[in-house]
């Protein structure tokens, strides 16, 4: 009777045997196709008198037969032949044709057959060779396959195939061979991972090494010397890990680093990019940075929480460092090679000191490292600078983390939404680290309030609006130096809040909100003196347009027309209405509302005749400009000046 355990082993063995048989069959088929003997024939060559001889004899023929006769074999070719025979190199094709016409028998020699001549020679020198034996004859013509461009020959691949199947069998039946449960699990994991791909399909050692890399840590470390010069960056990293294993916390620490989520990404993206962008001589600098990061972090990782975070994100620090190297390599490596290392170490220390560091996404961390290196490269003193009672870098991280961790906005934007916005912002800062030099808390001061203003919106609206406001504001600050010293950011945030209210009350559509933000930011940038006003002109205009629109029963101002109207009115007011705004923003808003309402009233008669709806915002903007310039005194559609101005503008659209 077969027991259940025996049956399991047998089935497993049978599966392994079948798999082995099938894969061996394919492998041997490939070996036969690739390496199989190949009879390569040499074609027969038509034998004919040489071209030089043909020319000589045709000249002699023409000399003896200078005039054409009715039976002239050359026929029409004679004239062309005479002409070409005067040339240094007569036309070979014509000469051949003529020779064939004149001496047809001379062109009937049998072909030269190199293979037949070879067999004739073979018969002479190897009388024991049986030419009638097809196999023996084929062997005399076989051309061997020659070198295989892959690193693994078929003998090795058959060996790998067997090892693969055995590993798979072992993985399914680990309990039979390993008694210790923990060790059994580890053995099973290694065997499973090693058996995952079909080993024999690896075309070269490189692929096998990569597989070993992902299968066992020791395999990687032991194989590092075989990786060769083409993978200098990978070799440098593996050397660092090997050194760290020997010097610091041992296998467990290194195993954790190796199993972290970013390892493969660092190999596939970071190092590949570094190898392409940076010189091979720069691997030493990278090696120093990696070693410093890992060694610095080792003591901190005894804290279980930070240890797990570090295992997952140590590669982000290196990737960020590599990005910074890529952008600033010449200056950075020539003058301050230790800078990236110092920033990376400081990042490790700051992250270890920040309890909520785990909220940072991989990409944000990459960008922040990149941005921090950029800022410190421009101003090295930042590394030791203290803001408040904390180091500059810790303030920067704190600013980001406090933004990411805002509980109040979590019901509007999920973690991914916030991370996406912060990641975009961090990417912008990485490209423009100068923003951080002045204010490491920029993210907290700009992005966090924006996130607060959108907290009551639907997730999608909140994300779009926050993205437009945060990125718009920071991009403007990049474009216009000195803007961070003005009220630009607070005004943008306030305007964003007002837009968010209108979206929430469904007065305006969520889809139009980002465009309104863009309009406000552009107006503030184009009219910098507006920033000096006590109130927020942009908000006032928005309120005026929205109030007038709400009072209009026909709903002319909605969707894109509303957005365009805000744009026109804001531009006109910023340009011509600043003095009125300085007197009283409240009064200005009230009067603006009146101008817009009266314009809408006038539009009733003109729409469909001299005015189309898309042209209405331009006319309203024109009316606001005329009023601001004093060209309209009485805000009344029945007023002569008002009506004349409206008709003129309507006619001009």
């Amino acid at each position: 009777m077969i027991t259940s355990a025996t049956a399991t082993v047998v089935i497993s063995l049978a599966k392994g045997a079948i798999k082995l048989g099938q894969r061996l069959d394919v492998l041997l088929a490939e070996k036969t196709a690739v390496e199989g003997a190949f009879v390569l024939p040499m074609p027969a060559i038509a034998d004919a008198p040489s071209g030089v001889l043909q020319v000589r004899e045709l000249r002699a023929y023409l000399a003896a037969n200078a005039t054409a006769t009715p039976r002239d074999p050359l026929g029409d070719l004679r004239v062309r032949l005479v002409r070409t025979l005067k040339e240094t190199e007569p036309d070979a094709e014509l000469v051949g044709l003529c020779f064939q016409c004149v001496f047809p028998q001379r062109m009937k020699a049998p072909a030269i057959e190199p293979d037949s001549l070879y067999i004739a020679e073979l018969r002479k020198v190897l009388p024991a060779l049986d030419i009638s034996d097809n196999d023996a004859l084929a062997a005399a013509f076989h051309v061997a396959a020659g070198r295989d461009s892959r690193g693994l020959n078929y003998g090795m691949r058959v060996g790998l195939l067997v090892a693969d199947v055995v590993a798979e069998f072992g993985a399914e039946n680990t309990a039979l061979f390993v008694r210790d449960p923990q060790l059994r699990h580890a053995a099973q994991c290694v065997l499973e991972r090693f058996a995952e791909p079909d080993l024999e399909t690896f075309p070269a050692w490189g692929g096998l090494l990569r597989h070993a890399l992902s299968s066992t840590l020791n395999g990687v470390l032991d194989a590092r010397s075989e990786l060769g010069v083409d993978t200098a960056w990978v070799a440098a990293l593996l050397d660092v890990l090997a050194d760290a294993r020997a010097d610091t916390a041992g296998d467990e620490f290194i195993t954790g680093l190796f199993q972290g989520r970013g390892f493969s990404r660092l190999l596939s993206e970071g190092l590949a990019r570094a190898a392409a962008e940076l010189g091979a001589d720069q691997t030493n600098a990278f090696k120093q940075i990696a070693a410093a990061v890992i060694k610095t972090a080792a003591p901190f990782t005894r804290d279980q929480s930070f240890g797990a975070f570090f295992n997952d994100h140590w590669t982000d620090l290196l990737r960020g460092g590599l990005l910074a190297l890529e952008k600033q390599a010449p200056a950075l490596l020539k003058d301050k090679p230790e800078l990236v290392r110092d920033v990376s170490i400081a990042m490790v220390q700051a992250l270890a000191a920040t309890p909520q560091a785990r909220l940072l996404s991989s990409q944000t961390l990459v960008h922040l490292t990149d941005a921090a290196v950029g800022a410190v490269a421009a101003k090295p003193a930042l590394l030791t600078q203290v803001a408040g009672d904390k180091p500059w870098l810790e303030v920067l991280l704190g600013s980001v983390i406090s933004t990411v961790s805002r509980d109040g906005i979590r019901h509007a934007l999920d973690g991914n939404g916030i991370a996406a916005i912060v990641d975009d912002v961090a990417g912008l800062l990485a490209a423009h680290p100068e923003l951080l030099i002045k204010n490491p808390e920029l993210i907290r001061e700009v992005v966090a309030p924006v996130l607060t203003t959108v907290q009551n919106l639907r997730s999608l609206d909140a994300r779009h609006l926050a993205q437009a406001a945060a990125m718009g504001a920071l991009t403007a600050m990049v474009a216009r130096q000195g803007l961070s010293d003005t009220r630009f950011a607070p005004l943008t945030i306030e305007f964003t809040g007002r837009v968010a209210e209108l979206v929430q009350s469904q007065t305006i559509r969520g889809v139009d909100a980002p465009e309104l933000i863009d309009i406000a930011i552009a107006t503030l940038l184009n009219n910098p003196r507006v920033l000096e006003l006590h109130g927020n002109l942009a908000t006032g205009v928005l309120v005026a347009v929205q109030t007038a629109a709400a009072a209009d029963a026909r709903g002319l101002l909605s969707g894109p027309v509303l957005v365009a109207t805000v744009q026109e009115v804001l531009a006109a007011t910023a340009r011509y209405g600043r003095i009125k705004a300085e007197a009283s923003l409240t009064k200005l808003t009230t009067e603006l509302t009146q101008v817009i309402r009266s314009s809408l009233s006038s539009a009733t008669d003109q729409l469909g005749r001299s005015l189309a709806l898309p042209g209405l915002p331009r006319v309203i903007g024109g009316m606001v400009a005329a009023w601001a310039r004093g060209e309209i005194i009485v805000i009344d559609p029945a007023d002569r000046l008002f009506r004349a101005a409206f008709e003129r503008l309507a006619a001009a659209t």
């Binding site: 036969t32 199989g36 060559i45 071209g51 190199p114 061997a144 396959a145 295989d148 075309p203």
Partner: protein, 285 residues
């Protein structure tokens, strides 16, 4: 776990158990299963054998085929159809398909099916070829296609002369790439020598013909060691009398036809060509 063993296999297992006992029968059963379904390798082996026989038939006339048939056309179509059928059934096995396509192309060339040969070459993806022989044949497919057609023409067109010039340049460069694979190097080296000698023979200008002949033989001479050249010069063969031919011997024996053709052209046209290799210079004058 035993449930998914098919009924036919269960009865087989039962018979094993009656004969050999439980565990032994189980292991034997597993081995028996392993032997099922192995059909690919033998089929490829048949393709290789049949195509080689067909290749020889194309060059040397009808020879007995593995199936006992004869006749060039029949041999060619059977061998080529077998390759097509295999590829259709195993299209996903790219590293098997690509070398079979090269083999098919050479088979068709040997039978002067030039358009079909071109299609077969084109179907062989260069990236899937791994041996020096197959890669070199694929790299030089244009020259092979031209030469197998042009070698049979007594009169060359201007296009033939242009193609010959290009082939001579490319095949000379090929020599360096194939240092570690002497057999395919020799094959392409001899091919180049034939092209060069034929080109010299077709040329109507004695200076050009002389230069071509010298170039063809100088480059051809690089295939041989000084000892081999000495054996060629004395027309001797090392003692042996073996029943098979080695690569060096093949190279020497095949050289005689090339040198005979070169001598004919050199003397007939009065070129007095003097290749740098003294043995060759003596043998063609």
């Amino acid at each position: 776990m035993i449930y998914f063993v098919p009924m036919s296999h269960r009865s087989l297992l039962s018979r094993f158990r009656q004969t050999y006992g439980d565990l032994t029968s189980a292991l034997l059963f597993a081995v028996a299963l392993a032997c099922t379904g192995c059909v690919t390798a033998p089929e490829v082996a048949k393709i290789v054998a049949q195509s080689n026989a067909a290749m020889l038939a194309g060059q040397l006339g009808a020879l007995p085929t593995p199936e006992g048939k004869s006749g060039n056309a029949e041999t060619l179509s059977a061998a080529s159809a077998r390759i097509d059928a295999f590829i259709e059934a195993h299209a996903d096995q790219k590293q098997i398909v690509a070398p079979l396509r090269v083999r098919q192309a050479m088979l068709l060339l040997a039978h002067q099916q030039f358009n079909s040969a071109r299609s077969a070459f084109d179907a062989a993806n260069a990236g899937d070829l791994v041996t020096a022989r197959d890669q070199a044949l694929k790299r030089n497919q244009a020259h092979l296609l031209w030469w197998f057609a042009a070698s049979g023409r007594k009169i060359w067109s201007n296009d033939d002369f242009t193609a010959a010039s290009k082939a001579l340049v490319d095949l000379k460069a090929e020599h360096a790439k194939l240092e570690g694979s002497p057999e395919i190097r020799d094959y392409l080296g001899e091919l180049r020598a034939w092209i060069g000698v034929t080109y010299a023979g077709r040329s109507t200008n004695p200076d050009r013909a002389r230069a071509l002949l010298v170039d063809a033989l100088d480059q051809y001479a690089t295939l041989f060691t000084p000892a081999e050249l000495e054996l060629i010069a004395t027309d001797q063969n090392p003692p042996g009398g073996e029943a098979s031919v080695g690569q060096e011997q093949r190279r020497r024996l095949r050289a005689k036809a090339v040198l005979t053709a070169a001598r004919k052209i050199n003397t007939e046209a009065g070129l007095s060509a003097q290749p740098a290799t003294a043995v060759f210079a003596r043998l063609i004058n």
